[in-house]
Structure formats: C-alpha cells, structure tokens
Amino acid sequence: MRDYANRALNEAQAKGATYADIRIVRRETQNIEVKNGIVQTLSLGDTYGFGIRVVANGAWGFASSHRLENAEIDRVAALAVAIAKASAISKASDVDLGPAECHVGTYATPMKIDPFQVSLEKKIDYLLSSDKEARAVQGVRVAESTLGLERNHKIFASSEGSYIEQTLTETGVGVVVTAVSEGEMQQRSYPNSFGRHQGTGGYEFAETWDLPGNARRVAEEAVALLSAPQCPSGVTSIILDGPQLGLQVHESCGHPIELDRVFGTEAAYAGTSFLTPEKFRNFQYGSKIVNIVSDAVAPGGLGTYGYDDEGVPAQTTDIVRNGQFVGYLTSRETASQLRKIHPDAPARSNGAMRADGWNRIPIIRMNNVSLLPGTWTLDDLIADTDDGIYMITNKSWSIDDKRLNFQFGTELAYEIKKGKLGRMVKNATYTGMTPKFWAGCDAICNKDHWHVWGTPNCGKGQPGQVAHTGHGAAPSRFRNVQVGVMK
C-alpha cells in the first residue's frame, strides 16, 4: 500500500500539486433485518477504492477510483491536478492549510468480540428472539429487528509525510414496532430511532442493548399510542430523554459549530450558521449549566476515531463552557481562516474532517458532540416538575438553514402533573429558537443517566455524504417551550 500511496503523491506533485494526500479505503458492511418473523435482509457489502486530494495553483482538486492499480493511480492523480487548476479560475486567494501535520501511527477500535466473526446463526437468532417478543403483543402490524455492522480500513498518506492506518468497527442494533388503526399509525423504537442505535465497538454492543428484553415493552407502547390522546398545545416545561436530547444537540449545536458552514461553504445545500465568527468566545449559547464538548476519543461513541481524514489526531474540544460559546469544529483550512479573524484562536485543526468513503472529499463533520452530565436523577427531576411533558425517542426533526428555528416530534410522551408522570399522549411535538431554548435549560441528569447516542444518518455535502456521529446526553429539562404544534 505504501508503494501505491507514494506513487500517487509523487505523480500529483510531478503534475504540479503543492500539497497532496491519498486515502485508500475498504468498507465492509453486514446488514441483517428480521421483519415479521422473516429474515428480509441478509446482505454483505464491500467497497474499495482510493481518493486523491491536491492543491495546485492554490486551489483544491479531488479525484477517485475503484481500480487500485498503477495506471489508474497515475490517471486519477493527473485528473485531480487538472481539476484543481480548473478550480483556480475563480479562486479569491490561495488555500492556506496552516502548520504542517506530519503523523505516523495506527488506530483500531477497541472491542471484545469481533462482530464479523460472530456466526450469522447467532445474530439471526438474536433478532428472531426480539421479533418474537414484539409480535407477541396484539395489535402490532410490523416488527423490524435490525443488526448492522460496518468496518472501515483506512490508509492516509500525505505529501507532508503522514502515513496513518486505521481500522474502525461499528456495531448497531434496533427494533422498530409499527401499530396501525383507521387513519392512525404509531411507531416505537428501541434503543433509538433511525432503525438502530450504533456505536464503535464489537458484538458486545449488541448484547448490552438486549433487544429481546425490550421489544415487548416498546410494542405495547406502540399499540397503546393508537388510542392515546393528542399531545396538548401550549407553552410548558419539557423533559427530553437521552436519545431525543442527543438529536437536539446534533441539530442545534453540532451543525452550527461546523466552521465550514460558518464560512459559507455549505450554504447551497445544508445552509450556514447563526454562530458567526464575532460570536466566538463572545456569545451566551445557553444557561450556565450547559457544557458541550466535541470529543472524538469518547469510548464507544459512534464518532470516535484515532485520526481524522486530514491525518489530524482525534481530540477533545470545549464548545460551550458554562453556557458561553467557546469553540468550533475545524479543518486545517478553516482553522487558518478563523485565526485571521481571531489571532488567539488555535493554530491547528481540532481534527473534525471526515469523508464518507474513498470517493468523497473530507468535510467538517461532528464526531461526538456531547452535552456533559449534570447532577439530577430522573426521578427527582420529574418530581421537581409541576407541569410539563416528558418526551421520548425522536420521530421527526426539522431546523432552518441557520440552525435557529427547529421543530421536533417524539414517538412517545407523558404528561407531568404535580411531580408525577400522567397519561400517555401521542404525536408530541415541540418547537423553538436555539439560544432561547438552551437558555431555558435548568436541569440536567447525572452521569448515571448519560450515554453517547449514535446518529448514523447525518447528511451533508454535494455530492451527498452520510456521517456517523455520537452525542452524549442525559435527560434534561427546558422551561417555557411551545409544545403540541400539530393539529
């Protein structure tokens, strides 16, 4: 592999590149889905290729191919340089990558049981057990139990001397139960929505979440929701469970701190950010108990790795400290740009550049952007709430292009009256504006309730890229929130 990498870097530089890197990536996947007692999906995936990224004439170029052979490497390296030179037609200034990054190292996801080595029979049995429990509940129309595995073997080499080899392994499991009646459909998911909860790690992750032990409960909840009353409308207190709060962090904090969005380079598709550079270290993002970090080394997090796809070591960065906005997710280029505005900003990238496979360029992506735990127990928090709604597991999400106005729906919700959980309500929604919402955060549960929830479906970029991100969160309370938006 070193020979291929060296050939690509040499060829790119010979054609005029002033910087070049190559990523050689193999992605293996295994997906199993049991639906209503039948194994509907049993598939193996394997995609392999390389991408060469260059700076030539001060502009970026990228080309990729699935044929890892000398002649194709030469063609793709030359094409990347030609593309960079075409890009230079419109450049405003030369690409500035800041200080050189030269790292040689390896990283592999820690795990106890290699999930690709566990027999298919064992995995299918696990899912069939979950499916059987879910369908034991009368009124269930569809039960889907899923196991997904992904392994990325990545080699990164750059013209600055980096050579990094990583093997990242992910395991995910989930059960989704659908109940329907005349004009109504309700779903419940466990442990998280989006089909499954996923983290970096081995098969022990699947066993920890015990789908068979929880499938019947969520099936009963789905059926009960069909006849539950509609979530009331009004302004009240809400308590969000960990998975829903994880997505709230993702959408209203994780995306607006991506410095490429801030500088406008994602404007056409994903949008920009309300956290503009003048707010850096000078903006009250939330209440004083709100502390958020970007943490690429969190054990088991879906956004955990050893190095990003620019070869920068994984690290932890403060994003919101005691409610104050103090940090962005950065790349080498955007870190340099920020420093031109704020000379005291870090000179180096905090390692948030990731690509969705060999055929995509790295862009700034969340790793594990997490709300740090507070001091409450969930029981105490509910007991302390006179009137409100407890909302559980995401169902719907939408947020504007600057990440201010959001609206979320959850699968399940309960009224809270005089410190006690009351009746179940369906179709719960809440809406708000990001800084006002986080200013209303007055209680966060403690580390016993805290977990890094996986979001395996984060879309961004053109052409589209899907990132796997993690979000540590514990149930938390927010005051004065508009709920019950749906008719």
Binding site: A86, M433, V485
Partner: protein, 447 residues
C-alpha cells in the same frame, strides 16, 4: 463507464458462476463530476469513477445479497459465493415467489455524449458566469454544477437482461446577501440545455429583492408555491404511501381510499420512467420494464406501484416495475413522479391573489404523520408577502406544518409549465408545476 458489452460480460460471468436455484445480478457503473462553489469561488471540485456489482441468490425461498466493486474474476466468484452462503443461513420466506421472468425491454434514449464528456474547465467556466453576476451585485454565490454518465445492466437466471445508460447535468445555486438569499436550479440529460447565466440571474434577482425581510404572524395564508416546493411535497407523498408495501402494511394514506376523492380535482399524479421530460429509467432494479402508473387522477385515489414481491402477495397483480435494489424492506417506490400541469402562469396566480405568501422553496422538510401526510419544514431563499396581486415585501422565513392531501385539496391553480427537479442525492427527478393553494398553515417564523 464500461459499456454495455463489458457490463454484460460481468453479469454473464456471475450467472455462469452461480449455483443457487435463481440468481440476479445488477452491474452499475458511473463517472460523476461535480464543481462546487461558495463565497464566489470554487472550493470543491471532484470526480469519481465506480462500478458496483450486486448479486441476489435464491435457495428455495431463501435470499442472500452481496455487493462489491472489484471486477476481477476472483472477486466476482467470491461475491457469488458470499451471496449464496448468506442465503444458506436464511429462514424460508413463504411469501417469496420467484425472481421476475423476462419481458420485452423498452429503450429510452437518455445518453448525451457531450454531457458525458464535459470537462472540469467547462464546468468551471459555467460556474464563473454565476460568480461574476454575484460579485457584480456584491452578493455571495454558492452551489454546484454536476455532470454524470451512468449505466446499469440487470440480468437474472430466468432470462431477464436489461441495459440502460444515461446522463444527467444539473446546476443549483443559492446567492446570498447580508440578510437575503435567492435560489435557482436547472437539470437536464443534456448539459447544453443548462444556461448558467439564466440560473444565476434568477437567483441574483431573488437575493436582491429579498433584502431587509420583515416578520409576519404565523397562520393560514394563500400561498404561491414555486415548482421546487411542490416537487418536495410530491416526493414525500410518493415515499409515504404510493407504494404497494405501505398499503399492504396499512400505513398508507391510500388505505381504504381507492376510488375515492382524496385531493381537489385539479390534481393528477403519475409515475413514468420512460418519459424523457424526467430523468428516465426504463426498468426497475429487478429488470422489469417500468409501466406508466396513474396514482391519483382528478383527485381520486387510483393505484400504487408494485415490485415482484408485493405483486405476488395480491391476486391478479403483476409488478409495475418499481422495485428498489435488493435487499429492500421499504417496498416499491415511484421514482419518476409527474404532476399534471394547469393553465396558469405564475404571474396570473400572483395577479389573482388578494393577500398571500410567495414561496420559492422549502428547506429541511420532514414527515410528522405519514397517514395524515403531515409535513413540517421551513421556507427558504425568497419568501415574499403578496397584497392586491403584487409582491409588496420580503418576509423572514416561515415554518409550515401542513397535510399534503389537505393542501392538494385547496389548490386554486396550477402552473402551466412542468419543471424537472433533480434529487440532491440520486439521479432521479420529479416533474412539478407551481401551485396556488389557499389556507396553507404556517406555524412559526425565524430570525
């Protein structure tokens, strides 16, 4: 791009290697190029060459799938063995009948050589025209100019053999001022049909005219939705309930409504993979020719689309050619949706509106309730207040929470032109007109 004979050779090699009772192979190759710009400069410029082979093996009623992108003989052999091995671990699926048999192929000419050969420098020159207009008006332009050539070959051991190749070119731009933005897009199989200057001009005009937006109270308003907003609603309608599996599982808005009126009578929606006004795909991912399927006719629920699995579950049904790639638990989906145009121009819709809101497009639309077809999302890149038949001022973006079927029941006029709207993530397109709709529900606003 590898060409039909190379794709056929790969497919036949897979079928010769197969030992399963039935085997299906899909070979898909593409050369994709995209020039992306932001802040009036090209910042990402990419090219990709890939080819994927997907094998579905059937042992009795057991199915296994494996895919890879290495094309050597050894890699293909390994792929077939992998698919057959995982099929062996399966449980019998009593509802699985058979892979589809061969049907007369339909050909659609969707390949334009100049699109396939379009060079990075040509895309850059097209982008530069947009950037120049943006700079001249002291605005910031962002967007992407993409060209792609793709080909698909599907074959199975029952004799199915289908090949299609096509090209797609698209430009999308968002041009921004300090507190304003404008959007425009164009797509075609022929890059020569795209006019970067025209796309840029529309977006610049919107960015200039939407400066200093002011808020408006949320509530129900008459709206004029431009084509991208209507296309967004069509896409979600197809995804939520116009496939047979959604009906069979009781989660479609079509359940119990066939033959009944579910929207206003101005609404006719169909799917047609052979219509060159869209982005044609003449057969589905099982190699079954796509039929034109009328889904809603003059407001009446008519049909949904089928693949071979869902057709096999209902007496007298056959696949309409709407399968997605295996393995697929989402069921068949209409990917080439059309909404019948009306007779009005957007200017006529505007002139006939006493008070209302003009919407350029939606952003981050998502489903709140699939059976009630309730969506939420934001307006973006050009939202204006209409009074007495004229646009009087730009508005801050609004959040809507609205049932599609209810909105389609309140259509007062449809635009006379159909516009092709390419999906951001795939080479599929929806053709939609503009629409004037009364009582459209906005539930929030933003800064």
């Amino acid at each position: 791009m590898l060409g039909e004979s190379r794709l056929a050779e790969i497919a036949q090699r897979v079928l010769r290697e197969a030992k399963a009772d039935q085997t299906e192979v899909m070979v898909a190759a593409a050369d994709s190029h995209l020039t992306r710009f932001a802040v009036n400069t090209i910042h990402q410029n990419v090219s990709e060459t890939d080819a994927t082979v997907r094998v579905r093996s059937i042992l009795g009623r057991k199915t296994g799938v494996a895919s890879g992108n290495e094309l050597s003989e050894a890699a293909l052999r390994k792929l077939v063995r992998s698919a057959e091995t995982v099929a062996g671990f399966q449980e019998e699926n009593p509802e699985f009948g058979s892979l589809p048999g061969p049907k007369p192929a339909q050909k659609v000419d969707a390949f334009v050589e100049r699109t396939a050969e379009y060079a990075p420098a040509e895309r850059a020159r097209g982008v530069e025209k947009i950037l120049a207009m943006s700079r001249k008006n002291r605005l910031d332009a962002a967007g992407a100019f993409s060209t792609e050539a793709y080909e698909t070959y599907i074959a199975n051991s029952l004799g199915v053999s289908a090949y299609h190749r096509g090209t797609v070119a698209s430009i999308v731009t968002v041009i921004m001022g300090a507190d304003s933005s404008g959007y425009a897009t164009a797509a075609s199989i022929d890059v020569a049909d795209l006019d970067p200057e025209s796309v840029g001009r529309i977006a610049v005009e919107k960015a200039l005219s939407s400066k200093n937006p002011t808020p408006i109270e949320p509530g129900e308003y008459t709206v004029i939705l431009e084509e991208p907003a209507v296309g967004d609603m069509l896409f979600f309608l197809g995804w939520m309930g116009l496939g047979a599996l959604a009906v069979q599982e009781g989660r479609s808005f079509m359940n119990g409504k066939f033959g009944e009126r579910i929207t206003g009578e101005k609404v006719t929606i169909w799917d047609d993979g052979a219509d060159p006004r869209g982005l044609p795909l003449p057969f589905d991912f099982e190699g079954v020719p796509k039929q034109k399927v009328t889904l809603i006719e003059k407001g009446v629920a008519k049909n949904v689309v089928y693949d071979s699995f869902t057709a096999g579950r209902e007496e007298g049904k056959t696949s309409t050619g709407h399968s997605l790639p295996a393995p697929n638990t989402a069921g068949p989906i209409p990917l080439n949706l059309f909404m019948a145009p009306g007779t009005a121009t957007k200017e006529e819709m505007l002139a006939s509106t006493k008070r209302g809101i003009w919407v350029t497009r939606f952003h981050y639309t998502n489903i709140l309730h699939p059976v009630q077809t309730i969506l939420t999302g934001m307006t973006r890149d050009g939202t204006y207040l209409i009074e007495d038949g004229k646009i009087v001022r730009p508005l801050r973006n609004l959040r809507f929470t609205q049932s599609i079927l209810e909105a389609f029941s309140n259509i007062e006029a449809l635009g006379k032109n159909l516009v092709l709207l390419k999906d951001e993530w795939n080479s599929v397109g929806t053709c939609a007109p503009a629409a004037k709709i009364r009582n459209f529900r906005f539930t929030g606003t933003t800064d």
